[in-house]
């Protein structure tokens, strides 16, 4: 039976599968380094009941970068670790741009870390909590006890644990997180991270140089 099938044809088929598979992966990878840029007609208005997000930087900065992210998203974590420090130091602290983080809960298990961040934010510790959640994402996702990990992070960033615990137990921000999620989804965003910079929307994490280029472009258009 084996002799009836040309082994060369068989290995040729395998070779074709390898070439097509590797090519498809390469294209998916290189599509803007994991990102796609779209032009949007106008900045998406924030609804009255949804949360506008956490802001870092000056109100007078000419450009606002809006990041829609999920704490459970690997690409969001990578972006926070690899590009976040440069964005903060070279764009936000220099007054070139303002950063707005909008939590986008892609699924039910995204709600808890967003809620933990919201409870830390009550005490002015959002960005510290944000960094803890993003930088340690693999730890708490794999821990099986994320709530315990979140509480440890809250303690580490200097939050009052009594207040934090009460906030978490009450689910104080659960409704707001869901409403915000629905509003973001209604604006056409379905993946994270997604960045709105001026009238440009970028799907996927991008390197710092691309962020800076888009910010400069948005600043030029705003003048």
């Amino acid at each position: 039976m084996a002799g009836q099938v040309n082994m060369k044809v068989f290995y040729g088929v395998l070779g074709a599968i390898v070439v097509i598979g590797a090519g498809a992966l390469w294209m998916a990878r290189s599509s803007a380094g994991g990102s796609v840029t779209q032009i949007i007609d106008a900045p998406i208005p924030v609804g009255t009941s949804a949360f506008a997000g956490y802001v870092m930087g000056s109100d007078t900065a000419p450009v606002e970068i809006v990041e829609h992210a999920d704490f459970t998203c690997g690409a969001c974590s990578n972006f926070a670790i690899l590009q976040g420090p440069d964005v903060k130091r070279r764009l936000v602290e220099t007054g070139v741009a303002r950063w707005r983080f909008r939590g986008f809960a892609l699924h039910e298990s995204s709600l808890l870390p967003l809620h933990a961040a919201a409870c830390a934010a009550e005490q002015g510790r959002f960005w510290e909590m944000h960094d803890s959640l993003m930088f340690n994402q693999r730890d708490w996702i794999g821990s099986g006890q994320p709530l315990k990990e979140f509480r440890d992070y809250a303690r580490a960033v200097g939050a009052d644990l009594g207040e934090y615990d009460t906030c978490m137990e009450e689910g104080r921000y659960a409704a707001r997180i869901r409403v915000t999620r629905d509003e973001i989804a209604a604006s056409g965003i379905h993946s994270t991270p997604t960045f709105d910079i001026g009238n440009m929307r970028v799907l996927g994490a991008i390197p710092f140089d691309s962020v800076r280029t888009l910010v400069e472009k948005a600043a030029a258009e705003a003048r």
Binding site: F10, L14, G21, A28, R29, G34, G74, S109
Partner: protein
């Protein structure tokens, strides 16, 4: 030997699909290409990680193993032996059970569908069927 060839080709396809999901899970890919709209929901759910390892990576290892067994079974000394076919049936049956469980989670727990997971499930099921058919027909095939 046609069943081992088919299993090799299918496991190679499954390997690339699992590799795509694994790389995405590691944050090395862009937005997940998904016509069903539920891929990220599934891939970011708590069920997408098992014992600290992304589920996609189990698929990656499984398809790689199936591929190696299939190819080994096509080499001279193994060609006439039944062992590789038995191993293919055993390995793919484990894969089918695992894929069925994941498909159940998509349908009944996560309430979202990931097209790539479905492709993997169909692929492993086909490998199982083809391998089983090859094994059942074995005496006739070698006669």
């Amino acid at each position: 030997m046609i069943h081992r060839m088919t299993a090799a080709a299918l496991s190679l396809i499954g390997f690339f699909v699992a590799l795509y999901l694994s790389l995405w899970k590691l944050g090395l890919m862009g937005p997940l290409v998904c016509s069903t709209g539920g891929c990220e929901t599934v891939q970011l759910s708590q069920y997408s990680v098992l014992l600290g390892i992304p589920v996609a990576m189990y698929g990656l290892a499984g398809f790689a193993l199936l591929f190696l067994v299939s190819i080994a079974g096509l080499q001279g000394r193994w060609m006439e032996r039944k062992g590789p076919s038995v191993l293919l049936v055993v390995l793919s049956s484990i894969g089918v059970v695992f894929a069925a469980y994941l498909t159940y989670l998509e349908a009944a727990v996560i309430h979202a569908w990931c097209q790539w997971c479905i492709v993997c499930a169909v692929t492993i099921a086909t490998i199982f069927i083809v391998s089983l058919a090859g094994l059942v027909r074995w005496p006739r095939v070698t006669a």
